[in-house]
Amino acid sequence: MRFQEFNIDNGYLEGLCRGFKNGVLKQADYINLVQCETLDDMKLHLQSTDYGQFLANEPSPLAVSVIDDRLREKLVIEFQHMRNQAVEPLATFLDYITYSYMIDNIILLITGTLHHRPITELISKCHPLGSFEQMEAIHVASTPAELYNAVLVDTPLAPFFVDCISEQDLDEMNIEIIRNTLYKAYLESFYQYCQTLGGTTAEVMCEILAFEADRRALIITINSFGTELSKDDRVKLYPTCGRLHPDGLAALARADDFEQVRGIAEYYAEYKELFDGSGNNPGEKTLEDKFFEYEVKLNVYGFMQQFHFGVFYSYLKLKEQECRNIVWISECVAQKHRAKIDNYIPIF
């Protein structure tokens, strides 16, 4: 989209999104939070940030789960406001972002239904950004195949089912395999959509989504060592929109242990750095932490350019990372176990 026309439909929302991003906690705020002794101290410190009075109505003593819920609620309100004001093509873009939460919700609901949990309990655990109209109707189905025919075919996720999972598969497959297959289809579809948008949006978003795809391929491979997942099944879960496609993915399909995966990652300069400094010893960062740090770095770069949609995606991801950070610090404070309290991922 050309510079001149971007602001007609999206100028206000971009300004608003950048305003939200300016409220993301800085290093000084984290230093204050880390020094808190109790959760009420943390509530006091958070009042002076952009969060304001969000915990005002909560009865003390505070619990970490309550803080987590309120943080998420604030994020959801901001995102929903932007989504309500958006027009095409930004509206489709923001919808694509919510599909990943929808996938998580559907898997949660399917698992819960198969274990005969009450539907209200499950709905309250769902992520609000991923809610869709047919959520209440999930309990009418007793098998995943029925579920698909009755409910899921009307949701925006139907195309992701259609491409990769047939009805028999739904009944037989492990639920995690379904989740990863859906996510692969979603990621590739999102990548295609960003390519059609073109311009700066494609530049920024495709880089972020390529890293997401590669990260999932690496994590799936590493986690599948020692499980029953065969190599062929593993290959079907790798998203193909990243840098590792096609050679890296083919090599990963044949990998047998962590050292081989590290060797494959060393062909790619960005991933080599991530594997180099990581390890499971105390004092070293884990690989997941390094992945999170790299993702935060890419998302911060997204804000360096103007007139593209990447700022909305990056804002959401950075706010989520901030929520995870605050919850981590809250847990350390609540349990009085301060050894690893500095292991949050710094954003700004």
Partner: protein, 209 residues
């Protein structure tokens, strides 16, 4: 999606037009009627009133388009950024004023040129008078087109810089003055067009006298 269709339409329309011109040109040349493609005849038979008024139209319309593009670009960013950082609202109106100035340049030139319009009688006027009127017509067209195009691009650029200034100011107040300097340079470009337009129009003398 719509943008891609629009680009396809524009390219195909332009392509067909260019092809038609080339085909007609080659047809005329090959059938010995090459003299029919006569640019000089074209320029001479169009009355100077047409040139003059087209120039005036370009001056004001292209300037206003530029100013409007600039104002909506910077205005929507100011509004968006002003939600979370209300202090930027008043300071950043300077960007809007710079864009508006661009429209005013175009208006000035259009009024000046319109004031010089005068009619002459082509049958009774001497050849020098006719030449003078033709010169005036061309000069007004040139001045108007110059000012119009310069203001169009000046307006777009001031708008984009102003939008960046508003969002940067919302994040860090010390940045506003520095980005304003960039905007001032962008605005100066519009002034160049005005100067050249005034220079061109200083020799215009239309009419019988």
């Amino acid at each position: 999606m719509a943008a891609r269709y629009r680009e396809t339409y524009i390219y195909s329309f332009g392509g067909i037009l260019a092809a038609a011109v080339v085909v007609f040109g080659i047809y005329y040349i090959l059938t010995g009627q090459g003299e029919r493609i006569d640019i000089g005849w074209f320029l001479e038979t169009i009355t100077p009133y047409m040139w003059a008024t087209t120039g005036i139209a370009f001056a004001v319309s292209l300037s206003v388009i530029g100013a409007a593009l600039g104002i909506y670009t910077t205005g929507s960013s100011i509004i968006g950024g002003g939600v979370k950082a209300p202090r930027i609202k008043t300071k950043n109106l300077i960007s809007v004023i710079f864009c508006e100035a661009v429209a005013i340049y175009g208006l000035i030139i259009a009024i000046v040129l319109a004031g010089m319009l005068d009619k002459y009688d082509p049958l009774k006027a001497s050849p020098e008078k006719i030449a003078q009127n033709y010169f005036s017509g061309f000069a007004m067209f040139g001045a108007g087109l110059t000012v119009g195009l310069v203001n169009l691009f000046c307006g777009i650029s001031v708008g984009i810089v102003g939008s960046g200034a508003a969002l940067a100011d919302a994040a860090n107040p010390s940045l506003f003055v520095k980005i304003l300097i960039v905007e001032i340079f962008g605005s100066a470009v519009g002034l160049f067009g005005l100067i050249v337009g005034i220079l061109m129009s200083s020799r215009i003398k239309m009419g019988d006298i």
